[in-house]
Homo-oligomer: 147 residues x 2
């Protein structure tokens, strides 16, 4: 694991999205806490648990060679002494595809570990194209209705 230190949760978040855009595996490693209970949910994907599983998947994604541009908006920060929750909208453009970004909402949780902050949770899910939520329910899998 890396011994890089991120003095604030915002520094760790900036490093996370820079690593994602650059496809930089070593930088991604340095962002995450080394723990069996870190958690990562990619958009539309299952939950990954533990540094090994989470980082292996990032390695696979980066090896796929696809490059993304990610513009972060709508950030909400909930901060404590040892934990911070950042909720953001990721506006993602895929290199070589059209200019219209796709929207993903992400819940990122950071923990203070020693002198610095590391990511412990990244939960991302696609935002539906239509802006307003359906009035009485939310969709699962585009068909059945759930909470």
């Amino acid at each position: 694991m890396s011994d890089k230190i991120y003095p604030t949760p915002q520094d760790a978040e900036a490093a996370f999205y820079e690593a994602l855009e650059r496809g930089d595996y070593d930088a991604m490693v340095s962002v995450w806490a080394d723990d069996e209970d870190v958690l990562c949910v990619h958009p539309g994907g299952p939950r990954l648990r533990g540094s090994d599983e989470v980082l292996t998947q990032w390695k696979r994604i980066f090896e796929g060679g696809q490059r993304l541009q990610v513009r972060i908006t709508h950030q909400v920060v909930i901060s404590g002494m040892l934990f911070a929750v950042h909720s953001v909208q990721e506006n993602i453009t895929i290199e070589g595809e059209g200019p219209a970004p796709q929207s993903v909402v992400a819940t990122n949780v950071y923990q203070r570990i020693g002198a610095g902050w590391r990511m412990i949770v990244h939960h991302a899910s696609p935002v539906p194209a239509a802006a307003p939520p359906p009035p009485t329910e939310a969709r699962v899998g585009g068909s059945a209705t759930l909470h």
Copy 2:
């Protein structure tokens, strides 16, 4: 807002899922912190922010009359003095539909407020039917590929 006190994050979580199953709006109100930065993402839905928006949507969902049974599995707990993160799989059966549950992964964040704990974040997203994640990428909206 309710003055009900949940002595632990687990108590708040149990109350959350009981309220969801019963379609009990007042119980749901008692689970959430009263704050403009609480956040809720329903499966496949956009981000809702603030107690008013979050609770209004729960009211609409409950008024829709659909009843759910939710069995919680795969719980991972990350705890601090003032914050707790619970990651769970929700196995949801819709009343009147087939017995096969649908799977949702949820990141629930609780904050200690005074003597008790309240929910501040609920981020839920559908788990794909196929168990293993795709090897190099995760899907967005069932078509385009993203991180």
